[in-house]
Structure formats: structure tokens, C-alpha cells
Symmetry: C2
Subunit: 322 residues, 2 copies
């Protein structure tokens, strides 16, 4: 197995090879090229490449599918940014800001089909299982986004509903990225399903860590201003956990959550979260899902050296190593 | 071969069988069910079923793929309606009006994946060719929509550019609908490509007929108010044809095209089109592409009885029989 940065480089080089059409349809492809060149961790294709290598010793067999996974991820970001009216992504204007909403919709649609085409560039023997995993995952992601948007209008969210939402919106794609790599690498159905579980559990740990860092993180390493979720009234792991208590702190939280958006609200709620021992609660949940992810690798039959490679991904994403 | 109405009924019944999820994701699927129940000719799945029957004697083998084709068509309508800010479709409010834009975007995305899933429900032996035709067609349709939107901002459109645009936006889907049915029915690659050409040529004839009826048609049979394209300054076959002349009528057209939108503009431009003999020019183009469509059926090796069934579709769509 290679280092994470090497898989990321393989994915990056493959993505750069995609030849977007110009001429009279340049207006359709320029936003795609723009979105795909924004960089980022390339985590999802890394998982696909690693999973393929884990089962057949060669990550290259999954290069096209890996780039399809990354294309799909960026398609969801593009449409989500329109829906969430986000104006900045990775330090640059979002597509609907730099161009317009229509462009973001149509170029996004194109990315979904391009992703399906890339995903389909696998040997005939695994075309159907790979496609089935990919399409089911896509449906999961849309359902996750739907739940996320409907949570905004709801007063109280149960923890199970929150975990379902992040499982669909974040976990499903990490799961499918891992499972598809495994299938291409020749894993059995059962092994590939354990790799899906690995990605799903990693996704839950990753999202809860992200929720944690948005309140308790360091702005320089986190890459975004701290407290954004509190200002926006986002239903994070911390909020859902706080809302489902019935002690004095929970009362204090409910009152503070009605404060107008701003730094005072961030300070007040952060202090309440501290008092609730929310740091420890987050760390506990992240550890739990990280352990489940590593357990799935064992059930998938990966040896110690391979598990070690995946463990470094888990640690990187859950803040144990940065 | 059966009557067109029988194929349409088969498609309609199959579409009604789709079981959309409810519960906490009902908000994602209700707009899809709404869009899919709006009725219409079901022309595209009819072509898929007919093409399958033409090659293997049984339309039922292509039922799932046919419903996938119709799902894809309705996905494009849903997103196009957002982009064009259309408020009414088949006499009912569009999805982004009845719900909101975010719902239209996300439910549309879901329809594209549902369509891909339905299209994939074909025997393994034809999965790859069917999927390749479907994905290439989807890209064509997006490029067609891109060209259509960019034409709005352009002063002068060449006839070849116009034909390319309607070929991508309308022809490609009728072509793929026919080709996919043929592939499922066991057609050779070459036969299936002739069936694509049939659908493509039918699409060109159909779109030019539609452009014609928007100016010269009868509001009761056309189903929409006459003159809408002129009011909206749409680049139709008539407009492109008029713009590419260099006689006195062309000068008159250019002046009239600057008139404010309204009934006077419709009357003035319609009179100029009459003087240009645009009725005959449209009829000539429609006849030309209809003949090409029928020619493709011969090259695909279909016998007289089968060609007759497809001919009735061509005649129905190009106004020879209504």
C-alpha cells in the first residue's frame, strides 16, 4: 500500500486528464473544469484507489471509477451550493456566483452523467454491481440532502434522525467509494459490503469531527471561521445532542439558541456546550465510529499492513493526526 | 405491431407502477410523482417499446427501459422549467412554482438517477451498449439546452447551428429511445444505429413542425396560444430561416423583430413569414426529415408492416394525421 498523498496525486493527475469540450459548448464545460480544479483532499477517489489495491494489489484498475466518484462529489457540491446559496467554496466564488444559477444547474447535471460514464469504465464482469452501488448511493445522497434541508425547518431532531441524515449525505458516498474500489479489485460481495460499512462508519466519524471542529476547532487548521454552524443555526451533532437533554443546561441552550445570530450567540452557546461536556461526547462518538470502521476492515479480511494504511486515513480525518 | 395508443397505454401503466418512497423523504418524491403523472403523449417510451417489438416481437422486454426514457425526459423538463422560469406545464403549475426551486433541482437530480436505474434493468448482454447510448444522449441533451440558452443572447443564428441545437435537444432523445429499444430487442449495432437515425430525423421533423404550429397552427389543436415564440423572441426554424435571407422581406423582418412584444408584433411578423412563403418552407423541411426517418427504417431492415407502424408515428407528429 502507498501513502495517502500518493493516492491523492494519482487521482489528481487522472482528473487533470479529463478533456472538456470547448467550441460552442464551452459555456457548459468551463464551470465543470473550474469546479474540478479546486483541489481538496480527493478523499473519495483515494478510498476507491486504496480499496482496489487492497484486493488486487493495483490501484490503477480503479482510476476511472475513482475520478467518477470525485466528479459525483463535486456535482453534489455544485447543486448544494445553489440550494444553500453558498457564495464561496475552497476560497473561490461558487459556480452560481461566478456564472449564474442556470449554468450551475445544467453543468451540474452534466457532471452527474459524466460521473456515471466514468464509473461505467470498469470490466464487464463488475459493471452491474458497480453501477448498482453507485446509483443506490446517489439516491441516498439526495435523500440525505432532502433531510438536511427539512431539518432546517424542524424544531427538534432526534439523534437517530440526525445520524441517518449524515449517513445518507456523507457516509453513503465514502461507503460507495470504498465498495466500488473493492469490487473492481475483485472482492467478493460480502467483502465489498464490509468495505462499504468501513466508508459509512468513517463518514459518520468524519462528519461528527467536522461538527466538533466548527465549534471547538482552530480557525487556521480548520480552514473556515469557527462558529459558523452556530451562527447559521445548523443542526449539528452538538445541537442535536444538546436538544435531546432534559437538564438545566438544556434549558439554557434552548434560550441561547433564540439569540440573534452573531459573536455573542457563538460565545454563549460554546460556553453551554463546554458545560455540557460536549467535547468529550463528540470525541466518544468519533472514537466509536472510527472503531467500527476499523472493525469492518477486519471483517473484509484485510491483513494488518492494509488495515494500517486505511487506519492512517481514519486518523487523518478524525483529527488524531493532522 | 400494435396501435400507438396501445404502446402509450403500456408505458402509462408501467409508469404508474413506480413506487415512490414516502415517510421522511416524501418531500423528495412527491414532486417526482406529480411530474410523472402529468400525462402527455408518452412518445419516447412508445418509440422504445415499438423498436423492441420490431426486432424481437415483444415490447414487454423493454418496459423498464421505456419508463427510464420517460423519466429522463421529465427530468429535463423539470430542470428546463427552472432555467426558463416557466410557470405552467401541461396546464398545471411547474414543480418550482408548486414547491420551490431547491425542490425542483433536487427532485430533478433524483429523477436522473432513477432513470439510469430503470435503463439499467436490461439483460446483462446489452447493459453496456444501452448505457453508453443513454449517457451519450444525456450529454447531447445538456449541450442542446446550453446552445438553446446561448442562442437567446445571439443576434444571428446560422441554419446549421439551429439544426445542430434541435438535433441535440430534441432529436437525440428520440434517437436514443428508438436505439435502446432496438438493442434490447436484439438488433445488431448497425441496425440499432439506423433506429437512432430514425429517431433523430423524426425529432428534427417534429421540432420544425412545432415551430410551424406556434405561428401557423390552430390554438385548439396545438394546445398552446399561437404566437408565443414570436412574443418571446425565440429562435425558431422560421426566425433562423428569415434571418438568413438577404432580400427586402428579410429587412422587413429585422425591423419587425425589434417591435415590443405583443399581438401587433405577432400579426406583423406572421404576415412577413406568409410573404416569405414560410409555410411551404417549413412543410418542405418537415417532409425532408420525415422521409429521412422512414429511409432509416428501411436501412434497419424493417419489413413493410413494421415500417407502416412507425410511419403512423411520423404522420401523427408531423401533422399529416391528428
Amino acid at each position: 500500500m502507498k501513502r495517502i498523498s500518493e493516492y491523492a496525486l494519482l487521482a489528481e493527475e487522472e482528473l487533470r486528464k479529463i478533456d472538456y469540450k470547448g467550441g460552442d459548448v464551452a459555456g457548459l464545460y468551463e464551470p465543470i473544469s473550474y469546479a474540478m480544479s479546486a483541489g481538496g483532499k480527493r478523499l473519495r477517489p483515494v478510498l476507491t484507489l486504496m480499496s482496489a489495491e487492497a484486493f488486487c494489489g493495483d490501484p490503477m484498475v480503479a482510476l476511472k471509477a475513482a475520478s467518477g466518484i470525485e466528479m459525483f462529489h463535486n456535482f453534489t457540491l455544485l447543486h448544494d451550493d445553489v440550494m444553500d446559496k453558498s457564495e464561496v467554496r475552497r476560497g473561490r466564488p461558487t459556480v452560481h456566483v461566478k456564472w449564474d444559477e442556470n449554468t450551475a444547474i445544467l453543468s451540474g447535471d452534466t457532471m452527474l452523467t459524466l460521473a456515471t460514464q466514468l464509473i461505467s469504465e470498469v470490466p464487464d464482469a463488475v459493471l452491474r454491481p458497480v453501477l448498482d452501488v453507485f446509483n443506490r448511493m446517489a439516491i441516498d445522497v439526495y435523500e440525505g440532502q432532502q433531510l438536511d434541508m427539512s431539518f432546517e425547518r424542524e424544531e427538534n431532531i432526534e439523534m437517530t434522525a440526525y445520524l441517518k441524515m449524515i449517513g445518507l449525505k456523507t457516509g453513503a458516498l465514502l461507503g460507495a467509494a470504498s465498495q466500488i474500489g473493492a469490487l473492481i479489485g475483485g472482492a467478493t460481495k460480502e467483502q465489498s459490503e464490509e468495505m462499504y460499512r468501513f466508508g459509512m462508519m468513517l463518514g459518520l466519524a468524519f462528519q461528527i469531527e467536522d461538527d466538533y471542529l466548527d465549534t471547538f476547532g482552530d480557525a487556521t487548521t480548520f480552514g473556515k471561521p469557527i462558529g459558523g454552524d452556530i451562527k447559521n443555526g445548523k443542526k449539528t451533532f452538538l445541537v442535536v445532542s444538546a436538544m435531546n437533554r432534559s437538564d438545566k443546561d438544556a434549558e439554557a441552550y434552548k434560550i441561547a439558541s433564540k439569540l440573534p445570530s452573531g459573536d455573542t450567540k457563538v460565545k454563549t452557546i460554546t460556553a453551554i456546550f463546554e458545560k455540557m461536556n460536549m467535547r468529550a461526547e463528540c470525541r466518544k462518538a468519533v472514537s466509536h465510529y472510527s472503531a467500527s470502521a476499523l472493525d469492518a476492515l477486519k471483517k473484509a479480511g484485510l491483513d494488518e499492513e492494509k488495515r494500517e494504511a486505511f487506519r492512517s486515513v481514519v486518523e487523518k480525518l478524525t483529527g488524531r493526526k493532522k
